[in-house]
Symmetry: C2
Subunit: 312 residues, 2 copies
Amino acid sequence: MTTIRDVARISGYSVSTVSRVLNHKNYVSDEVRKNIQKVIAELDYVPNDVARDLSRGRTMNIGVVVPNIDHPYYTDIVRGIMAAAFAAGYNVLMLPSKYDAVVEHGYLDQLRRHAFDGLIFTSHTMPVADMVPYKQYGEVVVCHDPGQIDISAAFTERGPSYRAAFRWVQRRHYRRVGLVLPRDIDISATSSATITAYKDVFGVEPEPSLIRTGVMSYDDGYAAAEYYGTNNLAPDFIFANGDDIAAGVLQYYRDGHLTPPTVMGQENQLSGQLLGIPTIDHHFRDVGAAALRLAIGAAEGQFPVHSDFIPR
Amino acid sequence: MTTIRDVARISGYSVSTVSRVLNHKNYVSDEVRKNIQKVIAELDYVPNDVARDLSRGRTMNIGVVVPNIDHPYYTDIVRGIMAAAFAAGYNVLMLPSKYDAVVEHGYLDQLRRHAFDGLIFTSHTMPVADMVPYKQYGEVVVCHDPGQIDISAAFTERGPSYRAAFRWVQRRHYRRVGLVLPRDIDISATSSATITAYKDVFGVEPEPSLIRTGVMSYDDGYAAAEYYGTNNLAPDFIFANGDDIAAGVLQYYRDGHLTPPTVMGQENQLSGQLLGIPTIDHHFRDVGAAALRLAIGAAEGQFPVHSDFIPR
DNA sequence: TTGTACGCGTTATCAA
DNA sequence: TTGATAACGCGTACAA
């Protein structure tokens, strides 16, 4: 491997002068610069990024914790992160977590070991408060509203669009509203925001028997509908946490030749468009871009992003 | 920042002994190990990954070049890569390319600068032959059949499933088969494999006016169908490069209240399931897993992966 | 079993 | 404007 010392020796100048040429710094005469560049070209020399990172004390890498890449929430948010990272000259490290708190802690430790400069949690199981001590080692960013906890965050403002959606439901006089939610209400910001918006609009708690949690996919949506069906719960409206999930819900009724309730999805996915159901666009790409800017220290604090209810 | 030297100084042992404890090596007495581990715990010391990488000469990072993350081909293949990387203790660096050959070359240069140990091209625009010289700097892996070129590769064997699909078409006596392909035939392995399989089954070249390239998305599929429609090309069957794309094709006819041709998709996506169209499952997760094993040097050579035609 | 000292390749400080 | 040299933090022959 050819090093900066080889270039120095062969060109007849010192490593510091070569380093200055490499980094386009001043205090190098045009002639010397030209000579050194010629040797660099001849030797086909390139600097070693790891040595450079060690010397500079930063990696230009940002870690992104992702429970499962197949969910549209994550692909959208990761797209936004990647685009912003590329523009800023950063590389993105994908860190799969499967919602495992132990694995999540492992990534915080990697941050501490300087494996990357910043860490974005697109979602997580561990308590946000446990992340705070790690801020001293690099930027830590979450992608939901962290409430009172002092941590950088970028997230969609679900309240307004959820309330708009439920007012739409209310105007149509649906009586039995099924809520098909991703994870338990105490750990999922999405789920709790849904419940809160429901209460804001309807003035009452949602019917507990009509709430299904742990629903993340088309198949889960199908199973949730099956649960409603076999237990004779007969919702006349179902609010799902994604268009694909809503598609699974509808398929259950279709397979059983039953009249389906009205359904609403989220994420503005192709399946929702095909089925002609109302949805909510959370603009997750913008959330991702904002999260990255926080992670590289180009911005600070909390970044709420506007979301849109799309009636159909 | 506390370093290994601090641990050595405070514990009263040398850095090499501390290093041995850190790396669970032999030749350390239990008592010394315990003393040192106590100091490590007290100081809350963790080793610096960058320094470790520099010293060891490798990063445990694998770069993955991805033109656009939203396409199902890439999300599936990346999922396979991530799962295998996680299992092997590697981190995955996502490298967006937008099919730009200059950007692709930039990532090969990053490999040369030791930013990662291996590089996987899920797809690319630059010629494969241009990658060969970079093999000296680390593993370079492509995700299509590289033909005679000596480079590691993991890819779906498209031939058998494409031929099975076209035989299905043939048995149904379709006469005017539209081919809706991703990129130009000379740069896309997918496109050329489609043409070859068509010729194998039908014994003739596909009708040039019925071939559309550059079709990557639902919207592109819609536009391709529009092209057929406005030019009175009247295909009676359309072979699309994805179920979502096939959905776009069908939507054009639906919007115009026209009788659609029969369509076939690929990727076994939700949209294809909803529309009840035949498709091809390429098992891209397995391809990704194989690609990673090649990239970390756990395997060598070419890894063809079997794909399945799914009639419906 | 433990310690010394050097190498990894670069950047940054300070002197010349 | 250029150069010598000390960091950066860790791993590892080799010596003891």
